[in-house]
């Protein structure tokens, strides 16, 4: 009885190890705790450095622009200035995530880049369809034409880079 009971169990144990519940977890679980402090996925190596630089420039541009406009002439175009401020915040968060590195930051940055792209497309279209809603330009007006279209190109290249980073590092 005991022999017949233990034999299949042992066999199942040996089979289990490479296949089912534990194995998919083992490669992931040690990696995630390791990443936070000691070996965070570096997101600013290579092309990532260029991304940080461009995002940094956009942060300074959008935040300082909206700060000046909101403090001096907010009533003139409240919607446009608020949108510029929001854009600045989003850029700031992405820059921080890129510099910080790690899996969580990578995912957060991906989400923000998607939000940024959506924002550029929506606001860009909005400014073209109904210019009267925007007495003054925002960072995202006309798909970021005033900023050499960097606001459109940046999230696309950032999403490409962040996705590639995940595939390449592990």
């Amino acid at each position: 009885m005991a022999a017949t009971g233990s034999a299949p169990r042992e066999r199942r144990d040996t089979q289990n190890t490479p296949a089912a519940p534990e194995t998919p977890e083992t490669p992931e679980t040690p990696e995630t705790p390791e990443t936070p402090d000691t070996q965070r996925t570096r997101l600013i190596g290579g092309p990532g450095m260029l991304l940080v630089w461009l995002y940094g420039v956009m942060v300074v541009g959008a935040v300082s622009r909206s700060a000046v406009q909101i403090s001096t002439e907010f009533g003139h175009a409240p919607l446009a200035y608020s949108l510029s401020a929001v854009a600045g915040l989003v850029y700031g968060f992405i820059t921080y995530s890129l510099v910080r590195g790690g899996e969580t930051a990578r995912k957060a940055a991906l989400v923000c880049c998607a939000a940024e792209l959506l924002g550029v497309l929506v606001v860009g279209t909005w400014t073209l369809v109904e210019p009267s809603a925007f007495p003054d330009a925002t960072v995202w007006s006309d798909y970021g034409m005033g900023y050499l279209f960097i606001p459109v190109l940046l999230p696309l290249s950032a999403v490409y880079w962040l996705r590639k980073g995940s595939a390449g590092d592990r």
Binding site: I44, G45, M49, W53, G56, S64, L148
Partner: protein, 119 residues
């Protein structure tokens, strides 16, 4: 402001961008000579900041506001050195690309400075 200085800084910034772009094309990081080039461009931007402040002190007013003008002057001074430091942290061709991008940004800032001053 001083048109000659603005044009000179913009041209120098674009030359720096082309130079570092060339280094990136040849898959090289930034080298000592590049940093000397960055120093020259940064110096031009610094001179511009001083000239701009002197002009403001003499009572001249930029067309689009003093705050914006000074902010752009400071941005122009910080632009290339920051890119240079980032290229020190990234010793690959991508460091060179970053400095090249910094040069382009500085050139754009010069155009904007010209607009803000009002011709």
């Amino acid at each position: 402001m001083l048109d000659v200085l603005t044009v000179a800084t913009a041209v120098a910034a674009l030359l720096l961008a082309a130079w570092c772009g060339w280094a990136a094309y040849r898959d090289q990081p930034t080298k000592d000579w590049h940093f000397i080039g960055m120093a020259v461009v940064s110096l031009l931007a610094l001179v511009q900041l001083v000239v701009g402040i002197v002009q403001l002190a003499r009572g001249e007013k930029p067309e689009q506001g003093t705050t914006v003008f000074v902010a752009y002057l400071l941005g122009a001074v910080a632009c290339v050195p920051v890119a240079g430091f980032m290229s020190l942290a990234e010793r690959t061709r991508w460091g060179s690309v970053t400095v090249a991008a910094g040069g382009v940004v500085l050139a754009v800032l010069q155009v904007r400075l010209h607009d803000i001053w009002g011709g």
